[in-house]
């Protein structure tokens, strides 16, 4: 058990290092100086309060998106539709943020709840179709992504109203922006959403590992037949899992709508938050702490990557590094084998000696 924990920490760390090594090789091959590159990257992540603020800001939606994917995974479902749920959540958050005039104590929670519910509603469709008609959730969620893209654009245009391809800004009473945090981080867009995101990770953990519902959801994820035998409503749980996953996804949208942007723009294509969420969830091993850390890593590399451009290194490099980190983490078994080979060789040598006697 202790050994498991050891590898659980060692493998991601080794993977990050190996990913950086690959990045260095690519930089060398591209004619860039990797030392300067990493210097710039780390400066871009940790160098100033500003960059730390931006990293945290970028992490908030990723945490939510990651939690959304991870939650479904935990119950044996692949919610590839987070992207669409983010869009509808974003839209509803902004809509509530613009449309109502309420005190902050009501307005902000209302906007957040609206976003969560919108995501939940959108996610419930693949869930219901899976439960009722056994339609593969991967196709339906892919289709729902496209539908979300076009429907939100249409609603932005015709219901909420846009000027120059964007809505007006949400009222201050619905905004997550925090002048304090902004000042603290030298005008980054860091907003209160990060606290909600961390709280959400806690909620995630609590639901799955502390509640009766979580016991059921995980059982359904592991073994549907046994869950049915035990009297759990398998179909109900499938829908519920999608719904909860959708709440997280919708809130990821709220992070953007009420935090980073304070508005919503017509989208000509997907935001990418949902797809990044898949990577974050998987890198974080579908566990809440892992998701938070993975989101921070993702956000940090992306923000740091922006400043690598200062010395001319194309931002695509970051994608390559992240991709390799994920590949290495996924290949943890190989890393383990290598480590064990070293250690086992020693013990085996001892054994042989013992046998000789």
């Amino acid at each position: 058990m202790k050994l498991e924990r050891f590898y659980g920490i060692l493998i991601p760390i080794l993977s990050i290092i190996l990913g950086m090594v690959v990045g260095a090789i690519v930089m060398l091959a591209g004619g860039y100086n990797p030392i300067d590159g990493f210097d710039q990257l780390f400066y871009g992540i940790f160098g100033e309060p500003y960059s730390i603020g931006e990293t945290l800001r970028a992490a908030a939606p990723l945490i939510f998106a990651g939690l959304a994917v991870a939650f479904a995974f935990r119950t044996g479902l692949f919610n590839i539709g987070v992207e669409g749920q983010v869009l509808v959540g974003w839209m509803v958050a902004v809509w509530i943020g613009i449309e109502f005039d309420l005190p902050t104590a009501i307005h902000l929670p209302l906007a957040l709840i609206g976003a969560g519910l919108a995501g939940a509603l959108w996610a419930s469709i693949p869930g219901i179709l899976k439960a009722k008609f056994h339609v593969h959730e991967v196709i339906t969620s892919i289709m729902m992504n496209y539908i979300a893209l076009y429907v939100t654009n249409d609603i932005l245009r015709h219901v909420i109203g846009i000027e120059n391809e964007r809505t007006e800004s949400v009222k201050e009473s619905a905004s997550l922006a925090s002048p304090f945090l902004q000042e603290l981080t030298d005008f980054s867009r860091l907003h209160n959403g990060i606290f909600i995101a961390v709280l959400a990770a806690l909620v995630f953990w609590f639901i799955l590992w502390k509640t009766t519902l979580g016991y059921e959801l995980r059982a359904v994820g592991f073994n549907k037949s046994a869950a049915e035998y035990a009297g759990m409503g398998v179909n109900k749980n499938i829908v519920l899992s999608f719904v909860i996953s959708g709440v997280f996804a919708g809130l990821a949208g709220a992070m953007e709508g009420l935090g980073t942007f304070q508005n919503m723009t017509l989208n000509a294509s997907f935001t990418g938050v949902g797809f990044d969420g898949i990577a974050v969830a998987l890198l974080g091993a579908n566990n809440p702490i892992g998701v938070v850390l993975a989101a921070l890593l993702f956000a940090g590399l992306n923000i740091g990557g922006l400043s690598m451009q200062q010395i001319g290194i194309p931002p695509e490099l970051i994608k390559i590094i992240i991709a390799f980190i994920i590949i290495f983490v996924a290949s943890g078994y190989a890393i383990r084998l290598l480590i064990e080979k070293f250690t086992v060789k020693k013990t085996e040598a001892k054994k042989v000696k013992g046998a000789d006697k």
Binding site: K210, T211, T212, L213, G214, Y215, E216, R218, A219, F222, N223, S225, A226, A227, E228, Y229, A230, G231, M232, G233
Partner: protein
């Protein structure tokens, strides 16, 4: 004496665990050689070594006197070794023919020559009397036929040394009878067989010799002759005396608990597999259902437990209808269920034993309060049950997956019995278990009866039915065609009735 196989001083380790420790097994040409041992003794492991699935850490294998190095099943196939695995190695959505020819397909141009393949399959199946439908999908055929396919696979490849790993564990008595005939025919054709089985009676019936292993260690090889008895074999196997023919006390039936009237249930294909069934069980009695697989057993259990809709008829539990209630409601009305497939229904293998112990009660106090689990209580409960039912597990935190089959079964029984259900349904509760474990489980069933529960036992082992039941219901084509007293009947009569014979004809046949 000519040996076709000699496994000498074989050692196989899994990590630090030694599954086979210096085991020797020698197979003579033309013999049926039984391999006996408790669950987890290392029998399958040894055979997997012979078949090239595992590489031994030490030891030597000789085939027809030649030292060989069996690095893969391919090598084994080339050496004429075929294996029928404990858990069938069949692709469910392939046809019988496809499964047989896989890896050695006859070709016509680029294509598989299906006509030739079918012809070859038919020819072999005729030669050895292994009736199969070459075009049927595996998922649609009975377990017995699946096993014949497994045997055909080896014969198709020209194997003359056959390994059977617990072939009878999943078969009905009729099928076992056929299997024994098949084995005898194979021997007559010049093949040699290694047979793993927990059924001592089978060993006595067909085997020429028997090798016993215990906890990975070689115990000995004996001739099966007139001097050999089942109890001596059992003793060799477990190292103590086993009371496997225990006589249990007499039943004392009380009020009616389960009352099924004219029940009709359709299976997944829409066929009425339960068709007008009547059955009643009283408190304090064990009713055994005897029937050939596929006569409605599965659907009957599923209908009672709420896993399948009943079309018509009635199911009363303590005079209240439980027909078409949700599984949870059925459970709460007082039904316990030891399911037939423990891995599919009985356990969440990726949950700890502790989690599994509350699979139906997790939402109730004290395990759950206001939607919040109290895992402390869960583990407490698990500890008590583990102790009480002697479930061998390192801890209640251990994943169910890591337990041996016998211990998994014990865990399920512990859970079901502990809920004190009025009706306990036990479906194939001892399948694949060794005699020691079987003894334990039978005792538990009788104990439940003595506590005044109604027990419904479904088993394909007539011996088990006869031994444990207080009353036997014979199931044929979805109906109970006869109720018998185990004291006044025997396997022959039962077998006859199960095959559709009429009671009054018994004497004449």
């Amino acid at each position: 004496m000519e040996y076709v196989i000699e496994m000498l001083n074989i050692r196989k380790e899994f990590g630090t665990f030694v599954a086979n420790d210096n085991i020797t097994l020698q197979l003579r040409k033309g013999e049926i050689h039984a391999l006996l041992g408790e669950n987890g003794a290392g029998k399958s492991t040894l055979m997997n070594v012979l078949f090239g699935l595992y590489q031994p850490e030490a030891g030597e294998i000789r085939v027809r006197g030649e030292k060989v190095n069996i690095t893969s099943p391919n090598v084994a196939n080339d050496l004429g070794i075929g294996m029928v695995h404990q858990h069938f190695m069949l692709v469910q959505n392939f046809t019988v023919t496809e499964n047989i020819i896989l890896g050695a397909e006859p070709k016509a141009g680029l294509k598989i020559d299906r006509a030739a393949a079918r012809e070859k399959v038919r020819q072999i199946s005729e030669q050895y009397g292994l009736a199969v439908d070459p075009d049927a999908k595996i998922e649609d055929i009975s377990v017995g036929m699946q096993q014949r396919v497994e045997i055909l696979k080896t014969l198709y490849r020209g194997a003359d040394i056959l390994i059977f790993d617990e072939p009878s564990a999943v078969l009905t008595p009729q099928e076992i009878k056929e299997l024994i005939q098949i084995m005898n025919r194979l021997i007559a054709e010049g093949k040699s067989i290694i047979l793993i089985t927990h059924k001592l009676k089978e060993i006595m019936e067909v085997a020429d010799r028997c090798t016993t292993i215990r906890r990975g260690k070689y115990i000995g090889t004996v001739d099966i002759d007139e001097t050999m008895t089942q109890s001596r074999l059992a003793e060799m196997m477990v190292g103590r005396e086993v009371n496997f023919n225990a006589e249990y006390s007499k039943a004392n039936p009380q009020e009616l608990v389960l009352d099924i009237k004219d029940l009709v249930v359709k299976d997944s294909r829409g066929i009425k597999t339960v068709d007008g069934l009547n059955l009643d069980i009283r408190a304090g009695e064990i009713v055994g259902i005897a029937g050939i697989d596929g006569n409605g057993q599965t659907e009957l259990i599923e209908a009672i437990t709420g896993l399948r809709k009943a079309d018509s008829g009635e199911i009363f539990l303590n005079n209240k209808s439980i027909k078409n209630l949700k599984p949870r409601k059925v459970t709460e009305s007082g039904v316990g269920h030891i399911p037939q497939d423990r891995h599919k229904h009985g356990l969440v293998l990726d949950y700890s034993i502790g989690h599994n112990m509350v699979l139906q009660t997790y939402y109730k106090q004290p395990y759950s309060k206001a939607g919040i689990m109290n895992y402390g209580q869960v583990m407490e409960k698990a500890k008590t049950l583990i102790e009480k039912f002697d479930v061998r597990t390192p801890s209640p935190e251990t994943f169910a997956r890591a337990l041996s089959g016998g211990n998994q079964q014990k865990a399920i029984i512990a859970r079901e019995v502990d809920r004190s259900p009025d009706l306990l349904i036990a479906a194939q509760p001892t399948r694949g278990l060794d005699v020691g474990a079987i003894e334990f489980i039978h005792e538990q069933l009788v104990l439940e009866r003595e506590k005044g529960r109604a027990v419904l036992l479904i088993s394909f082992e007539l011996e088990e039915i006869l031994q444990v039941s207080d009353r036997i219901a014979v199931l044929y084509e979805g109906r109970t065609v006869a109720f018998l007293d185990p004291k006044e009947t025997n396997e022959i009569e039962l077998g006859f009735l199960m095959a559709g014979g009429k009671k009054e004809e018994v004497g004449r046949s």
